[in-house]
Structures are given as structure tokens and as C-alpha cells.
Subunit: 239 residues, 2 copies
């Protein structure tokens, strides 16, 4: 009994530490999104460079979380529900790492864009898309902290709006390329940026699903799951 | 002693089963690359559609491997080196899942491309790039099966060629868009295709690094690690 209690206590401490690490990682990922969108809309290449460099901290946190999670499983031998908690944390740290990579990608695009021309309208669109994706991420992390199933479920719904914006911005940029071939290079960079933002939304949705998995032990049916790496929304197919 | 032996035997069986599952997943990922490049170069939309659907099998294998790995860790409490083996398997299954997503993305692009014009030269380039990425993946999986450090190390070197081809194809497609705006939409789809192939190479490289981690217990220094989600090679920045 004393041993079991000791193990439970030790496991709870491990879980708390994992929770702290995930919160730190989530905070970093949020900040990377904010920073890189500022860098993009203000054409601040130095700031973009800092975002690119800062990604290493997120990668390193992910490795630490992975190690800590695996050691926790090996030492404490948690049963079903507790195991799910650790697996959920592992999944979420993977998703956050990928959001970090996407912010880094955008940072590289900002540098490559240099002073290439981008319309104000497109910039407004990017900013709006990014604010939606950021809100998704915040809600997903919040649903984790509060164990809030309703909030987790709402993240997916918002994802559809991000996808729609990505498709409409793509069509808009395509039109501007037709009308003014001089904007082609800059527009392609921006197409990649919006695609990266759209994928951030997918990863935020996956985090929300991991929260559902932790709480309920069930994921959504496979056919509903968004592919985190999908670089294209079905809506975008028809153009 | 009997208990320890029993545990060791059971752990070995678990490891073997995990190895079998990874081999199956690797085989599926290889086939998806072959199929989707055939679909692209032959403009076979039906085949592309099958690739998109077949991705679910890879996703499901990844979940199974994750569960099996975590249960193995919890039940057998492996020590350092054995733990590394299981963590390595977990990482590799993540990378394979992402390669599968990338093949699916290309499948969607093939469908979106429809009968949009693509030059023979570009198609040859795509085919060549894909054969390089496929060779990387095969070598990475082979280095895992044979525990071959030299082969694992060689995967990274080949990755540079894939990156260079991606950059040169990008410049080529950009030129064709300037010269003939009618090709813009098709060319953008192809830019995404080559980017997806380039990222397959990054994931193959990550698999090779996971093999090194399993064998040697050390990963390459962080600053050398390729970002798996990087949608842009530094070489591509200057255009």
C-alpha cells in the first residue's frame, strides 16, 4: 500500500511536470506565430530571422517531453487511463513541434520575400487567417488545461473557416499572378505562407482531438480526422 | 531469474512484433510514393484517388505501433538501451506517417491538376526527384533492418541532391510561369508536388537519424538536424 501510494504520488508529480512542459511549449508556439506574422506583415526580416532561430527551443522541449514521458511510463507502469494521459501529452508535443516548424517556414519565406510586392488586401487576409489559427491553438491548449470537452470540440469547427480563407486567398493570389506576372515570385511565397497557416489550424485541431482522447479515451473516427500534413483543402481542388 | 527471463523473452517478442509492423508500414509508404508518382506522370486521376484513400492504412498502423510501443514500455519496463529501441520505433513510425501524408498530398494535387499542361522536362525532373527520395527511404529502412550505421549516414548525403533538385525545379517552373501565364495554376500544383517530395527526403533522413539513435544512442547535434516540416531549402532563398 505504501509502495502503491508512493508510486501514485511519483506518477502525479511526473504528470504535473509533463503538464508544465507542455504549457511552456504551447506558450512558445503561440509566440512564434505572433512573431512571424508580425515579421511578415511589417516585412521585418530581422524579426523573421529570430523566429527561425527560436524554433530550436521548441524542438528541444519536444525531445525532453518525449524522454520524460517514456521514462514515466517505464518507471510508473501506469494503467489504462493514466497511460492515455501520457500518450496524449506525447501526441500534443508532436503537434506543437510541427506548429513550430510551420512558423519557422513562414520566417524563411519572409526572408525570401525580401521587398517583393504584396497587396494590402492580401496582407489583411494573412493577418486574419493567422489570428484564427492562433485562436484555435489557444482554445486547444486551454481545453487541455481545463479538461474542457466542449471547448476542444469547438476547435474543429473554427478550422473550417481557416480552410475556407486559405482557398479564397489562393484564388485571389492566382488572379494577381495572372494580371501581373511581376508578382508571381512574391505571390508563391505568400501561397506557401497561407498554406502553412492553414496547416497550423490542422495541428491545433489535432491537439484538441488529443485532449478528447485524454478525457474520453476515444478519438474521432478516422474518416473525420484531418490529415495534419495535408497541404490542400478539398475546397481548393476545383479551381 | 525465471521471471526475468520470461520478461526478457516477452520483451523480445514485443520488439519483433514492432519491427514487423514498422517493416509493413515502410513497405506501404514506399508503395504510396511509387503509385503517386506513376499517377502524376501518367496523369492517372483514378490512381491518384486510390493513393489518397490508401493513406488511412498507414495512419492506422501508426496508431497501432504507438499503442503497442507504449504498452511494451509499461509492461516490460525496459532499461536504457532497450528503451531506446522502442523510442526509435515510435519516432520512425511518426516519420513514415508523415511520408504517407505527403504522398496523399501529391495525390490530391494530381486530381486538382486535371489536364493542366506540364512540360516533359518538368515531369522528368519530378520523376528523378521522386526516385532519389524513394532510394533515401529504402536505404533508411534497410539501415534499420541491418543495423547499418554507414548506410544510415549516407542517407543524409543524398538528401542534399534532392534539395538541390527541388530548388532548380522551382526556378524552372517560375520561369515557365513568367513566360506563359496560362501555366501558372498547373505550375503551382507542381511546385507543391516537388516540395512534398523534398520533404519526403527530409523524413527519410530523420528515419536514418533515428536508426543512428537506436544503434549509438546519440542523435546528431541539433543544429545539424533537418526540420522535417521545412517547406523551403536555404538554397531556395536567394531567387
Amino acid at each position: 500500500m505504501a509502495v502503491a501510494e508512493h508510486t501514485t504520488k511519483a506518477f502525479d508529480n511526473d504528470l504535473q511536470e509533463l503538464g508544465r512542459m507542455i504549457a511552456e511549449m504551447g506558450g512558445l508556439a503561440e509566440r512564434q506565430i505572433v512573431e512571424v506574422i508580425e515579421a511578415l506583415t511589417k516585412r521585418d526580416m530581422e524579426r523573421a530571422g529570430r523566429v527561425v532561430l527560436a524554433d530550436a527551443a521548441i524542438d528541444s522541449l519536444q525531445r525532453n517531453i518525449e524522454e520524460r514521458a517514456v521514462v514515466t511510463i517505464a518507471r510508473r507502469q501506469p494503467m489504462a487511463i493514466d497511460l492515455r494521459e501520457v500518450v496524449g501529452v506525447l501526441r500534443i508535443s508532436n503537434e506543437l513541434e510541427r506548429i513550430g516548424d510551420l512558423a519557422k517556414n513562414i520566417g524563411k519565406r519572409v526572408i525570401a520575400l525580401n521587398d517583393g510586392e504584396i497587396s494590402r488586401r492580401s496582407m489583411r487576409g494573412v493577418r486574419h487567417m493567422a489570428s484564427l489559427a492562433l485562436a484555435q491553438l489557444r482554445d486547444a491548449l486551454d481545453s487541455l488545461a481545463r479538461r474542457d470537452l466542449v471547448k476542444a470540440g469547438a476547435v474543429r469547427v473554427r478550422d473550417e473557416e481557416v480552410d475556407r480563407m486559405d482557398s479564397s486567398m489562393f484564388r485571389e493570389l492566382l488572379t494577381s499572378m495572372f494580371e501581373d506576372p511581376g508578382t508571381i515570385a512574391a505571390s508563391i511565397h505568400l501561397v506557401f505562407c497561407t498554406k502553412n497557416i492553414e496547416r497550423m489550424g490542422d495541428h491545433a485541431t489535432n491537439i484538441a482531438e488529443a485532449v478528447q482522447y485524454i478525457i474520453e479515451g476515444s478519438a474521432l473516427p478516422d474518416e473525420l480526422a484531418r490529415s495534419p500534413d495535408a497541404d490542400m483543402h478539398p475546397l481548393a481542388v476545383e479551381f
